[in-house]
Amino acid sequence: MSGAELRLGAVAYHPRIVTIWERFRTYFADAGVPTDYILFSNYERLVEAVLDGTVEIGWNTNTAYVALDHRAQGATRILGMRDVDRDWATVLVMRKGQWPGSVAGLNGRVLALGSRDSGHAAILPLHYLAAQGVDLATLRLRRFDTDIGKHGDTGDSELHVVRAVAEGKADAGALSAAYFSAFRAESVPAVADLEVVWRSPDYYHCNFTVLDALDPELSERWSEALLAMDYDDPSLRAAMDLEGVRRWYPGDREGYASLRTAMLEQSVIS
């Protein structure tokens, strides 16, 4: 490994992560910003690795980014994010015809949530529901903490959420709009009789984060290379499809405000 090589940390939430980063690693080398990748089993370890300099770039979930930025006291920069990360949203789903007409009508009902460290399937739903007038103390929560440490990346806990609602074990369930649409596209049987009853405001999801200490010229070149990745390049399409991105965008902090508030409210960070 050459001394000029950047180290990027990602969480191995699925075997495809290796396929993705093997391809991207070649891409960044060809683009003149050699980047090796190091895989972690959970985002907490990745945040530590960015802070202690084991890796320069963290490919973070929104929850991991807010935690990292909080611990770095705001001394972080965002180098880029996927097109889909710019308008991520949480949806509430119910069995068809069960919508009480307002979010406040969910008071006293059973709500299924994904893994408790998932921004979109646990932390933000509670934040938004409270803001919409739901008395959280009256909710009976049915949590599916099946991929703790992965921050909901696997979609596994969200699959449990839609199944719980479909089977009547919960009145409503919260998950990302992205996963709900993916379940629809894959014809997951549990979603056939569900409908979206509410969608949250948009917020940001994943991003590539570095500490401010990293050489700005280097991080700028890396960001430029990222944004130049072309989905219409046949040699890149398969890896970009696996990553769920068609186009990379520069990022900013704006879309993380709601999650930061929610994490403070729920004492995920303090």
Binding site: V91, R184, R199, P234
Partner: protein, 419 residues
């Protein structure tokens, strides 16, 4: 409706009516978006609040950008901006054409493309059916047989159709009950002849089967042809094995036959293999099968030989066509083909004449007894068969385009094992 989108941007509108996502709405939207240029906006009207809430997530997943929502008492409108990425990494499909011409109501393989295939298609191209537009980005293949001159035959399309039209069933199309009642001597001879045929038919299957996965799929007719050849030989193995077993006797799988067949498997050049297997081997078998049909002591044996003969004629025809075309393109290939026959003959120097075990079995089968008078007539018939084989070999080699002298040389080099 969000302020950042002006009404003038809307290029298309679609009314979802009561369609839902997961229930056909995706199909309607995909068709509607085909008419929208990248960056253009499609407005979707739906009476369902749930559908309207779900559409932005669908749009993102499909590579589009949700750009506005309007929820009113009389319905909901969701606007999405079409993404810039192509769904398929390929050019547009060509406009509808007239399709292939029918002949007497039939869509024949010879008519499904206009003209011959491209002579040198991309050797890395994949399984692209005729007429298909290929998406890029697929893993590269590597087809060893990718030059039309090496594998094509001008009438391969007709041969493919004949092969499909002349399929038969070795379990049901043979009068198996006719096997009963033959004496031990005759039945033992039949078992040996059938064992010999079946042993040879294995090589006749393995050789085209070895070439099949090397053929560039752009030569689809050759792929279909080799598939039919393999299938024919599978049935020949089946029917001759069944006939050898049906009478209760058993025959030898001869070492000399195995030696001869192993040299067929050694040949890795397609056209040289056409010469050694199709023209010389299967050609010689045509005469053998005709002899067996004529002299068979029972209807099952005769029928099996007759049906196999019909198939082998196609195989011989392909071999002649393939070599004739190859020599027409490059007459110098004569030297390569003769060298292939000489190389094979050099490996078979230990063979001298057809195995006496087989000659005896053919004679007894034809005589149907061990009576001297019967054996005399049968032995004469077997000698005649050998002359017929040689005469017809020369004729077939002439049809390939070889000179009389070369044909004589090639015929003399041919294996004493017949195949």
């Amino acid at each position: 409706m969000t302020a950042d989108r002006k009404q003038a941007e809307v290029v298309h509108r679609v009314d979802a009516e009561h369609l839902e996502l997961g229930g056909g709405l995706e199909v309607l939207l995909a068709a509607a978006l085909e008419r929208v240029a990248p960056g253009g906006v499609l407005e979707i009207r739906t009476p369902s609040r749930a559908v309207a809430l779900e559409l932005p997530g669908w749009a993102r997943l499909a590579g589009h950008e949700p750009v506005g929502e309007d929820h009113r008492r009389d319905g909901h409108v969701v606007a999405i901006r079409r993404g810039a990425s192509a769904r398929i990494l390929a050019g547009p499909l060509p406009p509808r054409d007239l399709g292939p011409t029918l002949r007497e109501g039939e869509l024949r393989t010879a008519d499904w493309r206009s003209g011959a295939p491209p002579p040198d298609p991309d050797p890395r191209a994949g399984f692209a059916p005729l007429g298909a537009v290929v998406e890029t980005g697929a893993p590269a293949q590597h087809w060893a047989l990718s030059h039309g001159d090496a594998i094509w035959a001008d009438d391969v399309g007709e041969l493919v159709d004949q092969a499909s039209g002349q399929q038969w069933d070795a379990s049901r199309d043979i009068p198996w009950e006719a096997v009963q009642g033959l004496d031990n001597t005759t039945e033992r001879a039949v078992a040996q002849v059938m064992t010999f045929l079946a042993q040879n038919e294995y090589a006749a299957l393995y050789v085209p089967a070895g070439f099949l996965p090397q053929v560039n799929p752009q030569f689809v007719e050759v792929v279909l042809w080799l598939g039919s050849h393999v299938h024919d030989e599978a049935r020949h193995i089946e029917v001759f094995t069944k006939r050898s077993l049906a009478g209760g006797h058993h025959g030898y799988a001869l070492a000399s036959t195995e030696l001869s067949l192993s040299t067929l498997l050694d040949e890795h050049d397609f056209t040289a293999s056409s010469l050694l297997l199709n023209v010389l081997g299967e050609g010689t078998f045509l005469d053998l099968l005709r002899f067996i049909e004529t002299h068979a002591p029972d209807a099952a044996t005769a029928t099996a030989a007759r049906l196999a003969h019909r198939d082998e004629r196609r195989h011989v025809h392909f071999g002649i066509s393939n070599i004739k075309r190859a020599l027409g393109v490059d007459p110098d290939q004569v030297g390569t083909l003769v060298a292939a026959a000489e190389t094979r003959a050099a490996k078979l120097v230990s063979l001298s004449g057809l195995s006496p075990i087989l000659v005896e079995a053919l004679t007894v089968m034809a005589a149907r007894s061990l009576q001297p008078a019967d054996l005399s007539d049968a032995a004469a018939d077997v000698r005649t068969l050998m002359r017929t084989m040689e005469r017809n070999r020369l004729r077939r080699l002439g049809a390939c385009g070889f000179s009389a002298a070369t044909a004589r040389h090639l015929s003399d080099l041919h294996t004493p094992n017949l195949m």
